[in-house]
Symmetry: C2
Subunit: 370 residues, 2 copies
Amino acid sequence: MTDPRYTPLALSLPSTVPFVGPETQERARGARFSARLGANENVFGPSPKAIAAMQAATADIWMYGDPENHDLRQALAAHHGVTPDNIMVGEGIDGLLGYLVRLLISPGDTVVTSLGAYPTFNYHVSGFGGTIHTVPYVDDHEDPASLFAKAAEVGAKIVYLANPDNPMGSWHRGEDIVAAMEHLPKGCLLLLDEAYVECAPKGTAAPVDADDPRVIRMRTFSKAYGMAGARVGYALAAPGLILAFNKVRNHFGMNRAAQAGALAALQDQHWLAHVLDQISIARSRITEIATANGLTALPSATNFVALDCKSDGVFAKRVLEALSRQGIFMRMPYADPQNRCIRISCGPQNDLDAFAAALPLALRSAQAPE
Amino acid sequence: MTDPRYTPLALSLPSTVPFVGPETQERARGARFSARLGANENVFGPSPKAIAAMQAATADIWMYGDPENHDLRQALAAHHGVTPDNIMVGEGIDGLLGYLVRLLISPGDTVVTSLGAYPTFNYHVSGFGGTIHTVPYVDDHEDPASLFAKAAEVGAKIVYLANPDNPMGSWHRGEDIVAAMEHLPKGCLLLLDEAYVECAPKGTAAPVDADDPRVIRMRTFSKAYGMAGARVGYALAAPGLILAFNKVRNHFGMNRAAQAGALAALQDQHWLAHVLDQISIARSRITEIATANGLTALPSATNFVALDCKSDGVFAKRVLEALSRQGIFMRMPYADPQNRCIRISCGPQNDLDAFAAALPLALRSAQAPE
């Protein structure tokens, strides 16, 4: 009896997980976290109307979801002033990234991203045999100019740019990105990940023509809309590229209740404004806590804040582990020099109180390891 | 401005949808169906405890689901008498089929399936550049002997066998499939789709050793468990193959409420027994209706029944369209000679009453088209 005959590509891939989930860490430590602030989830939660819509739709969960996501795409089109043909709904941005990479990348193809940017994009590129080229952050910002120059140099098929950025929380003005696109090499698709853009200052969303074939924008209901566990993301792009997703996507992959929840969440912009206020308050509080402990909170246009621990990755990791021991789940950037920071998601007062209480001990513990 | 540079494989693929959803048909006809009996959904629905668990978990939908599906895998392992390392949970069987095909199939690789069997498997194989070889049904049954012989002939990496079969509802005894596996060629993985096996007579599930590297079994919460819209399927296989899914899957792709719902559904075997009774009653009723109208209901081990209209695919399609005009959503096999049949999912009395009322006119209309 022999093993299945995997493809050479599959054999070359590691069986690793891009992120270890907090539940895995909780099982390892034998206790729940008291504050879950590591995955940039929105602790303030979705609109109560979205929760109600999902609960109501659960009674009909015996039915598959609409494979066309018709109602949600209509509403998103109206919301963005585009046509439904500009919109593809999928199983979170992670799912859509996988489909997009599959459409464009085969062994030998290249992409460009920033060293330390969202690893799930890299996971998909490696998974389809692509080669990843990176450029460094500039002053904790992803840098469109160097990304696009590198893309030209290596003939990249895709260049990834998150605006605002995860894990640093930094951002560019949308019109600056559009201006920089003048240097986007011909035949290179700009993958603009705007997962956090609702949290950002007005003018951060790039004013891209939805029919521009040079760019695809990714949005999600996981962050500002507070529905990470529902798995609803969407892409905005030219109709040709949107249609191409039908070649490879899991047509019946959307959870029916999640479809209803996303629609209700989109229609409750009042709740979104409320959540953005709460995020803003939390960012200020996090900044205060950081300052009181000798750390520097980086400016953030997202629902999280990177805290500069003013040392190196080894030190930041010790801080993170000491926080974990005290029940605070957080994460940190994985690449130097951003890994001098730890990253905390915005949360309500209780969660931040717990963080404030745990941080001094965590820093002392990291400064004087046993 | 140029289009993205798709892979040659992507360029070669059609932008088609394996199945047109009933919602799409409803939008086209401008009215809802009165009986939704086309997608083998379980109209009797999931356990009320599963609905309650999903509704409760919706309050926590701001959190990503556990990427390891730990609790569900533990429960499934206990249920099947295997270890959690034998189980991979994914976004329905459709999602798992995509991952499996991706792991094994690249351009030039071959698979074998039956002509007219589940098209989504074929969709994934084509999507990764594989070549599909088919063998005919034998007396409306998929035929393990000819499938395995063809697999040997063409050097297939995967042979697909659904037991019970969709769309015909026919089945083999599990021990007969295990016996036939003696002729499964070395290095060919048997993909045994048991989506409907809970509906089948005892002894239909193949008594496969979970650590046998020659076979992977697919199960789902979409059919007997009544949760099609939740998107929860799972694979049972040797730990090496299960682990390989981590190379390519969307780790955070599971809906958190769906995870909780599947766990609760599994734990309510009493409800499952109730649903299976209802399905059995519906199969009998469907058979009566068919007989009264001069059709033959094929024996079924699933939650649907294939009805032999005793003509050809053109006639069956006319029957289907006439039923649709009367508000009855059904589907039919796509390959000859199975396409002499129409396929009806089991439903409650009201739905079957509507079918019984519509069928005579539909048959008359099909016999005398304008």
